[in-house]
């Protein structure tokens, strides 16, 4: 609280000044504690309800509370035998829900402590209630732990006491203590009549859910980079024993098979991106040529029809490809007309795969990519054309000297962005068109990561590759930005 000016009312009761001011420190602790508590619910490593080694290490308190089936996957057999009571786990799950409710209450209290004094003093009841509720939930977890230990199948169920339990207990105790102190010392603060909150905080609280979601789904994946330093196998755990430092990074350079794979994959990636960069002028040409057509109706028709493929997923594109290029497909029937039918299955062959992928990409996105240029052409000053016409410039000269230079800034930005994204060809197209024949030439970096990570289960190695790719991509983007600043005087990001 930065009180720059002391109001007359506060001056009147000068003796009370110190006690009457809400304690910044205590409220700060309250907010921080509630925030930590709320976030902890989403971290599987911080799950106080993991009372058995058989419970999946990857589920958080939140999941424990809301996905009973996830919690008990490895206990179903024991439930059926009766060696472990199902009620133990029902209790555990309910306790998790109770803790979550408590954390939410503390969170509300934390939010309300941003308000004015009256709101603060009303809001303080929430963390009081919340921490008591959490204590109750923790007690229930402890009960179910004892139950599990006493059950017939205790040996098989491998009960362990989660050490993170103490963290929750500690947090709850701190919150209870702090909120009680605030409750007792700041009771006299209810001078304001209405509950209010400074606008800056109320706006912030409205944004807070989005900030949290962005953190959980966009920032938190970065935390997954840690897998590249561990000897992790799917379903396993991360611990000090399987920490391997930079082992996977060195494998990337030392292991013969991996090195060969990487070289092959990088070749495919760079060739396909290179082809994309080499043909990056095509949408611009498309727009310029379209602009040369006089009939507006025809223009609109072309635009409408050619953008359709962009809205079709790659799965559907593949279905179409199957219809046209398979053995009984359109192309072979068409060739039969010229007596050239060889009954080729065009999709299965590995010939010219790179070119085919380029053509599919072009087919799908050409009309769409041209829209930006069409918009840019519309933005070019028409007087330039009039002046050029009067000066006797031919149609071709006008395009060459007015339209093309007018589109160059847009082209440059898009080209730089393409270069920055050179390592990300996307997954879906190559996943769809890959088959046993063209496997060697179609596997780009994204598909390779998918193949070894998701299909092959080699999490650490694929994380290392993905992580390296991300870092290089960011470097490329910053580099492209620097170039853009140098050439046009402004950045692209």
């Amino acid at each position: 609280m930065k009180n720059t000016a002391i109001s007359p009312r506060e001056l009147n009761s000068a003796g009370e000044l110190n006690t009457a001011k809400p304690s910044t420190l205590l409220h700060g602790i309250l907010r921080l504690g509630s925030l930590i508590l709320c976030l902890c619910m989403f971290f599987p490593g911080l799950n106080p309800a993991r009372i058995s080694n058989l419970i999946n290490k990857n589920i958080s308190l939140f999941t424990t509370g809301f996905s009973f089936s996830n919690l008990t996957t490895r206990f179903n057999a024991m439930f059926r035998q009766g060696s472990v009571n199902k009620s133990t786990f029902v209790l555990l799950s309910a306790a998790s829900v109770v803790i979550i409710v408590g954390a939410v209450l503390c969170g509300i209290g934390g939010c309300m402590s941003l308000g004015n004094n009256r709101m603060k003093s009303r809001g303080i009841w929430f963390p009081v209630a919340g921490s008591i509720v959490i204590s109750g939930g923790l007690f229930c977890i402890y009960r179910s732990y004892l139950e599990l230990q006493a059950s017939k199948g205790a040996k098989r169920a491998q009960p362990v006491f989660p050490s993170v339990f103490y963290l929750y207990a500690g947090l709850a105790a701190v919150l209870l203590l702090v909120s009680l102190i605030i409750l007792l010392t700041e009771r006299r603060l209810e001078k304001e009549e209405k509950m209010e909150m400074p606008e800056k905080y109320s706006l912030f609280l409205m944004l807070l859910p989005i900030i949290i979601l962005a953190f959980v789904f966009l920032y938190l994946p970065l935390y997954g980079w840690r897998y590249s330093f561990f000897d992790y196998e799917a379903g396993g755990t991360l611990s000090r024993e399987n920490f391997v430092g930079f082992k996977w990074f060195t494998i990337l350079f030392r292991n013969q098979a991996t090195v060969k794979d990487i070289i092959r994959v990088m070749r495919n990636t760079l060739v396909m991106s290179g082809l994309g960069i080499l043909t990056s002028w095509v949408p611009m040409a498309f727009a310029i040529l379209l602009n040369e057509i006089k009939s507006n109706r025809f223009k609109r028709l072309v635009q409408t029809i050619t953008t359709i493929p962009n809205f079709i997923s790659w799965v559907l594109v593949y279905a179409i490809a199957l219809a046209i290029f398979s053995t009984e497909g359109f192309l072979n029937s068409f060739l039969e007309f010229f007596n050239a039918n060889q009954n080729i299955n065009w999709l299965m062959s590995a010939e010219n795969t790179w070119l085919k992928m380029l053509l599919w990409g072009t087919w799908k996105s050409l009309g769409w990519s041209a829209i930006v240029y069409i918009a840019a052409i519309a933005g070019i000053d028409q007087e330039l054309y009039e002046a050029a016409k009067i000066d006797g410039a031919s149609r071709f000269q006008r395009v060459l000297h007015i339209t093309v230079p007018g589109l160059m800034p847009t082209y440059l930005v898009l080209l730089l962005l393409t270069i920055a994204g050179a390592l990300s060809n996307g997954l879906e197209q190559y996943l769809m068109f890959a088959n046993a024949n063209n496997k060697d030439v179609i596997e780009v970096l994204d598909l390779y990561v998918y193949n070894i990570g998701i299909t092959g289960g080699r999490i650490p190695l694929s994380t290392v590759i993905g992580m390296t790719k991300s870092l290089i991509s960011i470097a490329l983007l910053l580099f492209a930005n620097r170039i853009s600043k140098w050439v046009r005087g402004e950045g692209i990001i």
């Binding site: 606008e199 912030f204 897998y227 409408t304 079709i312 559907l316 279905a319 930006v372 960011i474």
Partner: protein
């Protein structure tokens, strides 16, 4: 002086109003090229469609090339026999509706809030949201994060992660900044709360941009494939339509795996259908909704990409 001006006008007249033979050839080639490309874009859909409504025996022989023969819609009716296809439709339709609605609401609110000068640490939070567009942890860390959050084999994985869309937030923000501030101010003077202002003023006025992001969101949801492929490995009932189609196209080669009941129980179907046509029909049933809403969508996305272009 006078002479040269006259000359200029003559040249202008020549190049502007009467076409030289070269220009005529150019124009004809140009129009022909665009016509061919349009055909390339539209014919595959037509071809797929005539194959689904023609006589199945002819289709199997590859005899249907330019026009349908023996028109019937039995293939479309037979779709209800296809395993799990109904589920896939329900999953895809609900995620398109709820996912898009939540995304649009969140983007509108966030886009509005980051224009408010009074927001606590405004520029920091704006950057915090925008910067996420430029880095990507990678597929595997994303997957491990979803596992960690319990978002595998879970319908919520389709809805919740899609709520925050930084690019759309930027689009809304740019748009809201163009709305005159006096409107908001006068409402504020009348004692309207932030949320009321958002609901009564900002939301209706930014409808054009909201329609745009809704279109993009809906198409994205309808075409969603990757999340289903990676996160729903062992929950076939949660497959999206695209994932279902992928499964039939790539993984299931014979009719028995596609149709319910197996070979023995469905002799009639077995005789009249074949897996190829069934696959085409599923593909067509997935494409048709997009083609139907496409004309409505078009005017919105053109507007959207223009706004994006201004940004970029």
């Amino acid at each position: 002086m006078n002479n040269s001006t006259e000359l200029r006008f003559k040249t202008a007249r020549r190049s502007g109003f009467r076409k030289s033979p070269g220009e005529v050839i150019f124009d004809v080639t140009n129009v022909t090229m665009f016509t061919i490309f349009m055909l390339l874009c539209i014919f595959p859909f037509y071809y797929l469609f005539i194959n689904t409504i023609s006589d199945n025996d002819l289709v199997l022989k590859g005899a249907i090339t330019y026009y349908p023969i023996g028109i019937n819609f039995s293939n479309y009716i037979a779709l209800k026999e296809v395993n799990d296809l109904g589920n896939a439709f329900i999953v895809t339709i609900t995620r398109t509706i709820f996912g898009t609605a939540l995304m649009v609401f969140a983007s509108a609110l966030a886009g509005y809030l980051v224009t408010k000068k009074k927001l606590w640490k405004r520029s920091f939070w704006y950057r915090y949201l925008v910067i996420t567009m430029y880095f990507n942890a990678g597929l595997i860390p994303w997957y491990m994060n979803m596992v960690m959050l319990g978002m595998t084999e879970n319908y919520m994985a389709y809805i919740i992660p899609g709520i925050v869309a930084p690019f759309n937030i930027i689009l809304v923000k740019t748009y809201v900044e163009s709305i005159p501030g006096e409107l908001e101010e006068s409402a504020f003077m009348d004692g309207a709360s932030t949320f009321t202002i958002f609901r009564k003023i900002i939301w209706p006025l930014s409808k054009p941009i909201l329609a745009t992001i809704a279109v993009f969101g809906a198409v994205g949801n309808w075409n969603s494939f990757q999340d289903s492929l990676i996160l729903m490995k062992s929950s076939p009932q949660l497959f999206t339509l695209q994932h279902r189609l992928y499964f039939y196209l790539v993984k299931a080669s014979d009719l028995e795996t596609v149709m319910s009941g197996g070979a023995g129980t469905n002799v009639v179907l077995e005789n009249t259908l074949n897996s190829k046509v069934v696959k085409y029909t599923i593909a067509m049933a997935t494409i048709i909704p997009i083609l139907l809403v496409y004309p409505i969508m078009q005017k919105h996305f053109v507007k959207g990409i223009m706004l994006g272009a201004i940004k970029g």
